[in-house]
């Protein structure tokens, strides 16, 4: 079975290219360039990339809505345009393509009929699905009257109606409230555990990090990195220590011991994981810096100047620390933006953990560092024994 799935992945694409042409056949946009993708049976596969990277285009190729300009693609062992495989696929598009004039219940009943479900099946599945996505009270309301988040939930219910083997979700959490996001993630994990194959795209990197086994990162239509999440996020050039809170002296001496006294092989060594967020931003910033071609959105140049309030200007100019910090992450991102906060956090977290900091670490940051982190699993090493050794050593020194 194992070799079987490797030979016949659920989705297998080699050298995929997609060029959009205009009416006269002139090349307009190269949305995908030489993309290889392999989605194994039972995996939760994340497709990442900034806006316009070609994620939705790739999904449309997989669904047979678009045809590749070059390359080969097989889905569930057949051509993407084969109608028979559609019975086993569920699809949530990036925007709602549902009929605004149908009610939630009608939508499910029509789609169920096309999916060849019996009347009883449609009735029981609709009830369960609407309850699951929290729309059972509005089942007789027209979808055109739904809020954006509600239509997303409805789309999800529609995608799951045939209990698909392969679930394709184009930005499933976009527009959902935090509870909805959590529920969708739980759902993906549950389905993943049931052995379903899930292909999803998302901008919400934390979501992807939480649920995906494997990811493929696109930028400008080319694959930037690809592989299992743990492999990708492990930074092999840095070292990470993890221990409970100790006194400053202890820490200092531990540093001494570590750097001078302890033989290299007895120190617990592990590769720390960077957050997916940091990884993503790094790849995008790098591609951007290299001026790689993209048909999609480039990194924003910050808030338009005329929109920036005076407050911001003074703060920016009088607080060199803030300015420097922002510049250190990227001199293009507005420090007030949410993205910038995220990157700052990620960067701080990342630098703290890896000891890459150039400034003297302040106490607060240290506290955060030594406390059992909110995501201890992300920085735990595999070699428990070695780690214990170091910690013991530290503890001894602290008492002395």
């Amino acid at each position: 079975m194992g070799t079987d799935t490797e030979k016949n992945p659920v989705i297998g694409g080699i050298g995929l290219e997609k060029t959009f042409k205009d009416f006269w056949g002139r090349k307009k946009v190269a949305a995908l360039k030489n993309v290889d993708i392999t989605v194994k049976d039972g995996s939760v596969f994340g497709l990442l990339g900034p806006n316009g990277a070609g994620k939705s285009t790739l999904i449309k190729l997989i669904l047979g809505h678009l045809y590749p300009t070059r390359g080969r693609l097989s889905v569930l062992g057949k051509s993407p345009r084969d109608v028979s495989i559609k019975q086993r696929i569920g699809y949530l598009p990036e925007r709602s393509y549902l009929y605004a004039n149908l009610t939630a219940a009608e939508t499910l009943s029509y789609f169920g009929a096309i999916l060849d479900l019996s009347k009883d099946q449609i009735a029981s599945r609709s009830a369960q699905l609407l309850e699951m996505v929290g729309l059972e009270t509005v089942r007789n309301r027209r979808i055109g009257e739904f809020s954006h988040g509600m239509t997303r939930r409805m789309g999800l219910a529609q995608a799951l109606l045939n209990d698909p083997e392969l679930l394709i979700l184009d930005e499933p959490t976009a527009g959902l409230d935090p509870v909805g996001c959590r529920e969708v993630k739980d759902l993906i994990v549950t389905l993943g555990k049931r052995g379903k194959t899930i292909l999803l795209t998302s901008h919400l990197l934390a979501d992807v990090e939480d649920v995906c086994d494997e990811i493929l990162l696109l930028y400008g239509g080319t694959v930037q990195s690809c592989g299992s999440v743990t492999d990708l996020l492990q930074d092999h050039e840095k070292t990470c220590l993890e221990f409970p809170k100790v006194s400053e002296q202890a820490l200092a001496s531990a540093m001494n011991i570590l750097t001078e006294e302890i033989p290299r092989d007895s120190v617990s060594v592990s590769s720390p994981s960077e957050s997916l967020e940091a990884h993503f931003l790094k790849v995008v910033a790098k591609s951007n810096a290299e001026n790689r071609e993209t048909a999609g959105a480039r990194m924003g140049k910050g808030v338009a100047e005329y929109l920036q309030d005076n407050d911001y200007e003074t703060r920016y100019h009088t607080d060199p620390a803030a300015a420097a910090e922002t510049a250190a992450v990227t001199n293009r991102i507005d420090p007030n933006s949410k993205l910038s906060e995220l990157t700052r956090d990620a960067k701080a977290k990342h630098e703290n953990l890896t000891g890459d900091q150039t400034e003297t670490p302040d106490h607060e940051a240290l506290q955060y560092l030594v406390e059992p982190g909110p995501e201890p699993s992300a920085i735990t090493t595999h070699e428990e024994g070695i780690r214990k050794n170091v910690l013991d050593k530290l503890a001894d020194d602290g008492e002395n």
């Binding site: 669904l63 009929a113 060849d116 529609q158």
Partner: protein, 445 residues
Amino acid sequence: MRKILVIARLTFLLALRNGMVWGTLGLTAGTAVFIFFASTGDNVLLNELKLRIHYSYALSYSLLTLIVISISCFTVRSQIDARQIHLLTALPISRRDIWIGKWLGLTLIAALAECVLIVVIFLSSSVYCRSYSAEEAKIAKDNFLFARYENKPVTVAIEEKISERIETLVRETDLARNEVNEKIWNSIEQQVRREHQLVPTNGGKSWHFKIKRAPREGEKVDLEFRFYAENRRTPIQGTWTLSAPGKVEAFTADFSALPYEFNTIRIPAEQIPASGEFDLRFNGKDNPEVIFGIKTGVRIYQTDVTLLVNIIKAFCAQLIHLSVTAAVGLTAGVAFTFSVASFFSIVLYLLSLSSGFFAGVANELTHRFSFDLMDRIGIGIINFGIWLTKGLDPPDIIASLSSGISIPIHQLLLQWGPGIFIYGVVVALLGICLLTRKELDKILI
């Protein structure tokens, strides 16, 4: 098949919800009622009804055709543009079935509108009858409740007669065949056409009939005739004689009738031979030159079917036409943007309304004696144009229906049917092919 029906139901429901169905029904019915009561005639109920039904039916049906083209274009185009078709194509249903389902749904809407149209027109008629006397109403009822079948005389094609004449000419004079030029041809043609219609002074003329079926006992069989003469006000007298081989005693009827008017003579059913084949001869008494028109000169009417059957025939023929119209709209909607598609199909439809004109031009050209290359190319182009638009040509039934004449459905299906059938199939295949091969993200083909 089940899935096709689901799509058809879905198409219908969506059109109902977004008001397209109500719009279609309202517009066609409204137009029908408006035109029915807005037209005026000669105040004789029967004639008024014929005229009003004809006008309101013809106009509102044309409008219905245009609406069907537009809504077909619109439904498919809007679903491609709003990408709702993406969700459908992500389901296990082929694009061919989606096309057929949509087409069925649209045909259903057209059928509904057609029903409403007919009901509205006949309701209007019965309302209109109330303002007339009971006798007039009875005459009108008698005319409409049973549709009469119209038998035309058997005629020889004009071209055949012309060739015959030329053969004789060549045989009997010293004119060589290659000397027969356009001028001679034209004059012979004129002569033949004239002879075909003319009854000379103090003369007579025969028509051969082969009627649809021998009438049952007591059934009404009417001879209707109309002729033209120089003096409109002088009645002309004469005799009609019905004879058939093997018939012992010929049936005769004397008459006195005014030119330009329709005259009816009832023929007893038992006088018609069982074969339904007989000769009818006109003999004038001191008559001047008289002309019997080709179209309305001499006709034999016999009772055929009830009004309902006639309406059902009309409905079926028009439904075929509307379904092909829907297919044209659907295919155009798949192929082009909405504006281009509606423009394209409406132009096609308008051309089809005038395809009679083009057919006439082609006919004129082919009736000429000799052709050069340019003529042939011209005829080819016109014929192609006629073919292109002919499929959208509505069946020619409204005139019959509005004057209580039975629709010759066999004849119609033989003459008009094959063209529209082939057209429908070609258009449907084109549409299905386009939808199947097309990338769903693109705006144009």
